[in-house]
């Protein structure tokens, strides 16, 4: 169940991350959520499986701490489900052709397989040291039998996605001491959609 009580995004926090707001249909109503709020509310994924979500969250957390709770999986999943021209993942700048889902899913499958082969367990059960070891190997393309796009490229893409959710928001920017200075306040339409739900 996805109840209103699970939606933790206050108006203030919503404003600070609105550039990443995502629309979910709940009981026939449009609900605007940030990636973090979508994760907190356990909104259903559209593209990624549970295993893919846990793999993505774990490896991204090891690359960019804070990205799990910032909603990296919700952000990526939402964008993968968008129409090709509407997906806002940085991969569109890096020569990726839409649809992006196969690129992500094949990469996550390769990462999962690497965890099984080296540590006999999925990413979500790796120790911090084991995760770091795999990440280091991905960065340097040192994982044998890697069956997806080059691991170092996937590392780059996932790191960029994770930086989007952690540092690419008003709160993320201000959290490292950089004033955000937005020109445009978030759309009233988004607020009314959220307030309507509440």
């Amino acid at each position: 169940m996805h109840t209103d009580k699970k939606i933790q995004a206050t108006r203030r926090s919503f404003l600070k991350t609105s550039a990443m707001a995502m629309t979910y249909m709940v009981a026939g109503k449009a609900l605007m959520l940030t990636p973090a709020a979508a994760r907190a509310a356990q909104m259903p994924m559209k593209i990624l499986s549970a295993l893919e979500v846990s793999t993505l969250e774990t490896l991204c957390e090891a690359i960019v701490p804070g990205s799990r709770s910032a909603g990296i999986a919700a952000f990526v999943d939402y964008q993968l489900a968008e129409k090709p021209g509407d997906a806002l993942l940085m991969g569109r700048y890096l020569g990726l052709e839409p649809p992006f889902a196969p690129f992500y899913q094949q990469g996550l499958a390769a990462a999962h397989q690497a965890a099984l082969e080296q540590f006999d367990r999925p990413w979500s059960q790796l120790t911090e040291t084991q995760s770091k070891s795999l990440i280091d190997q991905m960065f340097s393309d040192a994982i044998a039998n890697w069956s997806a796009a080059p691991a170092s490229f996937l590392f780059f893409v996932w790191r960029a996605d994770a930086c989007d959710v952690v540092y690419g928001t008003q709160s993320g920017s201000e959290g490292i001491g950089m004033p955000y200075m937005a020109h445009i306040a978030p759309s009233d339409k988004w607020l009314s959609a959220k307030e309507q739900q509440n």
Binding site: S18, P84, G95, S173, M178, M181
Partner: protein, 521 residues
Amino acid sequence: MESISLEDKFDVLIVGAGAAGSLIAAKAVQAGKTVLILEAGPERKLSDLESSQISARKLKWGGAPVEESGNHKIGNSFNSGYGTGGSALHHYAVWLRLHENDFNLASEHGVGLDWPINYKDLMPYYDRIQAEAGISGDAEAEKWRPEGAPYPMPALPVFAQGQVIKKGFNKLGMAVSPLPLAINSQPYKGRSSCLYDGWCDAGCPIGALANPLVTYLPQAFAGGASIRHDSTVSRVLHDASGRKATGVEYFDAEGAVHQVLAEQVVLSAFAVQNARILLNSKSTKHPAGMANSSDKVGRYLMTHPAQLVLGLFDQQTDCHLGATGGQLLCQDDYANKDKGDAFGSYQWLIANATKPNDLLGIATGRADIYGAALDPFMRKAAKHFGQMNFVGEDTPLADNRITLSERKDQFGLPLAATHHSINERTRALVTEGVKQGVEVFKAAGATETWTGPTVAMHLMGGTVMGVDAKESVCDQYGRCHDMDNLYIAGPGVFPSSGAVNPTFTVHALALRTVEKMLATG
């Protein structure tokens, strides 16, 4: 069989609502012409230009995939726009003039192509455009600047990042000037002045930056021009003689096919898509594609090879302030193109406003920092980061080209396939320049310096202009040699790239084009 909807006839039909198309539309309606603009992307409004590097990506190319190959791929998705305003909606407004030595590469150096015009031909158009759209700068401080009217507005302020890096140039005996920007340093023609918050890449919603939504499109619409979004042009139509374009065929968002007729047709859909449309416009009269009797459509595709030099400084830099395009300019080596092993001019765009994320953001440049080390780095960099951008000249090569792929888009149209490589002399130019940039940063006191990859910045060529109809696609006004009333506008007509950002020149050339059209049509 698909039904084709035949629609009204216009005096001028323009494909693409970017910098060139919007200017031509405005001037044409002001001369009493009926004008229709077909834009492949969606409608964009100023209120859509949200301050976010993530949202900014929606402004970039979102149409049919463009295949890329070569040792220096063109980066179409980053360099092209999609929707009202085209790439000029997200451009950084670095409005520089080509230099006098940019127009005669072949005759002066035996390299590439000559332009069919010289700087003197273009200068009055630069002067008129800068008065209309507004540029802030300091012409006297730009000691390298070719002749021309002074800027209509004073230069934008230089913030801490620019002041810090400037010291490095000065220590090495190099000059810098304020960067001329089509961004208002003071209110100009009803548009407000800049707030210096560094969101140019996401599009400027306050009208301080001269993008088409605040410059020429309002004039076009006020004069009665129409625009149809989500309209993908597939081919140019022609009469029985093959010499006269009669209109275009396009697909709407639902895939319905339309034909619209016009007395004059302008392709201003940017370098890659213009060539794609021409190559796809095959007929018995034009078996190799329209305007391609020379086999030059698609050839001489160019970009500016660019590379970032980045670093950390002891001083606080406030790198989030200013304009994305930069604060300062250095063109000390611009006049010397022939450097032996290296060839071409280059310039430095210095102290670019920088955000934490995205392709040009702080985090992306240091992919080697991750895990527990990342956040401390980001916190330090947020206060002490600096960067500047090397922009080099590309050498026009016939084998760098746009062709049609075997693959098709959603409408069954062949995708554009692009191939672009830089030669050894251009590679040497980049190496030499970046080495200099690192020395500048060290001289400026950088505590740590690193460089980015060599990337493609701007797209040019593919439908080059020239005197000889056997060696070029269009004449000096953009009129296709093979056609009486088909014009090309935009950076695709550049026979060589120079090393300056192209948008100012795109405007100046488009003004020449439309005035020629109006004089002959």
